[in-house]
């Protein structure tokens, strides 16, 4: 079930909200857990058992870890078992096919045995479980003795299938005690609609252009067309993913939870490092907390720091999908960040702001080429077109037509990706508070209305981030 489907918005959501608020405080967690399990089982009727097994195994391990009597060796042993189990599941269900085909192509063997289908959201919930187990091992948090609450933390449907990755410590208290107020519900609802509109009105529509470009023969694509296409994808993936995060944060808030932000206007950054502090924040901080720092971070020697950096970026790339182009994409950003750390940062301060911004956008847009094409020939081919190497024309009439058709949408998307609308709203709020409140609520009604129209019109509408 995706958030932008009619079944979710007009059946699952109202039923869950009614039951949740009807039965009051003492049943709220049971209802939310049941709804979440139903939500997951709806998309994965078989793999829901895998998730439940995973929760049970880690629940038991953490109970044992949490007991004061266990010796250090025993605790380490338990941690290793848990890591092996969780990473083993992830490796088997997500990377088995990739590993097999890589080994096969090295030795020229045919190893195409049946690969398992990817369980929805396994990358997200495995990372949440890992953060919980590791934090219990470190003694940072107490193990959760209540199985309902732990299961709720893992399976909560707002963040289950596409993040943000919530740290257990951040919502430990909220699981047992949280306040549900009218104001919070209304604000969560607005946030949900904001995300829905980003996904349905912006991402899906600008994405149409990219799928047209992608479907073209490479000789037909002009330089202008290639840039129009990849910029469309740049906008699409941002609105798709940040829209999903907004919906998750909003839904969480409607049920009384407060999740951390996952995106902070990434495309206004002025360096690659800044971009990654604003893009998918929860993933970046996960890798920092559980991979980069445990390996010594940057407090070890220079070479070890470089090793740690590349390890993190190799894994970040790999996390995004079971294909080598994602690894390449990760290492590409690793290299850029290393360059910034070693020498570029010092000289960048002197660059004009605009130049820094263009530099960032340039490299991010090029990065999306690695992200979107799964084999190296296609990647190089597309990059060649973009930079005018080869015989492709610079401008053709088709590209001009597309530019004219999509120009309004481009402008709208670029404005929506910047913090300006929010700044303007805040200004308006200071000038006339009452009218602002009314206007903003009416605006969200309009978004609801339009989003419904767009969803009804498109029956097939899957999320990009469902592959992960």
């Amino acid at each position: 079930m995706v958030f932008s489907s009619l079944f979710f918005i007009f059946a699952f959501l109202p039923i869950t909200v009614i039951l949740y608020y009807l039965f009051g405080n003492h049943l709220k967690n049971i209802i939310l857990l049941t709804a979440s399990l139903f939500f997951y089982a709806w998309g994965e009727p078989v793999y829901v058992l895998l998730m439940c097994t995973s929760i049970m195994v880690n629940y038991c391990i953490c109970i044992l870890l949490g007991r004061g009597k266990a010796s250090r060796r025993k605790r380490k042993f338990l941690l290793i078992i848990s890591l092996a189990f969780n990473l083993g599941c992830l490796a088997y269900f997500k990377y088995f096919g990739m590993i097999m085909s890589t080994i096969g192509s090295i030795g020229n063997w045919n190893l195409n045995i049946g690969t398992p289908a990817l369980p929805i959201g396994i990358s997200f919930y495995t990372f949440q479980i890992l953060s919980y187990v590791i934090d219990v091992y470190r003694g940072k948090i107490k193990s959760q003795k209540n199985l309902t609450l732990l299961s709720l933390y893992i399976t909560m449907f707002p963040q289950l299938v596409a993040g943000p990755i919530v740290n257990y410590g951040d919502i430990e208290l909220q699981l047992a005690h949280r306040k549900m107020t009218f104001k919070k519900f209304a604000s969560g609802l607005r946030r949900f609609l904001c995300g829905l509109a980003k996904k349905v009105l912006l991402a899906n529509n600008i994405g149409l252009l990219w799928s047209e470009v992608k479907a073209m023969q490479s000789i037909e694509i002009s330089v202008l067309m290639s840039w129009l296409g990849i910029i469309a994808f740049t906008l699409q993936i941002y609105f798709d993913f940040s829209g999903y995060s907004d919906m998750a944060i909003g839904l969480g808030k409607m049920f009384g939870f407060r999740f951390k932000e996952n995106f902070q206007y990434p495309y206004i950054s002025q360096s690659i490092s800044e971009f990654w502090r604003r893009w998918h924040i929860s993933l970046g901080s996960w890798f920092k907390e559980y991979v980069y720092i445990p390996f010594g971070g940057n407090r070890v020697g220079k070479w070890k720091m470089i090793r740690n950096l590349f390890l993190v970026w190799f894994l970040t790339g790999l996390w995004h999908g079971a294909s080598w182009n994602f690894v390449l994409w990760g290492l590409y950003f690793g290299t850029l960040i290393l360059m910034e750390k070693l020498f570029l940062q010092k000289s960048m301060i002197r660059w004009p702001k605009a130049i820094r911004h263009i530099y960032l956008l340039m490299f991010v847009v090029i990065g999306w080429v690695f992200f979107e094409f799964s084999n190296l020939t296609d990647i190089l081919n597309f990059l060649q077109i973009m930079f005018g190497v080869g015989d492709n024309p610079i401008i053709d009439s088709q590209a001009i037509i597309k530019l004219k058709t999509y120009i309004c949408l481009y402008i709208l998307c670029i404005i929506a990706a910047s913090p300006w609308p929010k700044k303007l709203a805040l200004l308006f709020k200071r000038i006339h508070f009452k009218i602002y409140r009314l206007a903003i609520n009416l605006y969200y009604c309009l978004l609801m209305f339009l989003s419904t129209a767009y969803i009804v019109s498109s029956t097939y509408n899957p999320f990009i981030y469902f592959r992960f």
């Binding site: 079930m1 009619l6 059946a11 009727p45 529509n205 309004c408 419904t452 129209a453």
Partner: protein
């Protein structure tokens, strides 16, 4: 008098802020109440109906897919929404 005014204002505000969820609930109820259609003249095709329940179909996921198809095909005022979308699309994709 002034206090009263303020109170009225916040009541209006609260109602407006709940309009989207009221809309969702209304559509959900309408969906349950309105009779199912079998054929769409505009699209020249038969619309999906509520699927029969078989446990095997639930396990292989086809039941869930069919329920979602039923839900979108039988959505209240489907044609109205499609028209709204078409009109709005024209604003964005004006071919000059």
């Amino acid at each position: 008098m002034r206090k009263n005014n303020k109170k009225n204002c916040s009541i209006i505000e609260n109602i407006v802020s709940m309009l989207p969820i009221l809309f969702i609930l209304t559509m959900f109820i309408l969906h349950l109440v309105m009779p199912n259609k079998t054929f769409s003249k505009e699209e020249q095709r038969y619309l999906a109906q509520w699927p029969d329940f078989y446990i095997e179909k639930v396990i292989d996921g086809s039941y869930e897919t069919k329920v979602e198809a039923y839900f979108s095909d039988q959505f209240p005022f489907r044609n109205f929404w499609v028209h709204i979308q078409e009109d709005f699309n024209e604003i964005f994709h004006k071919v000059n």
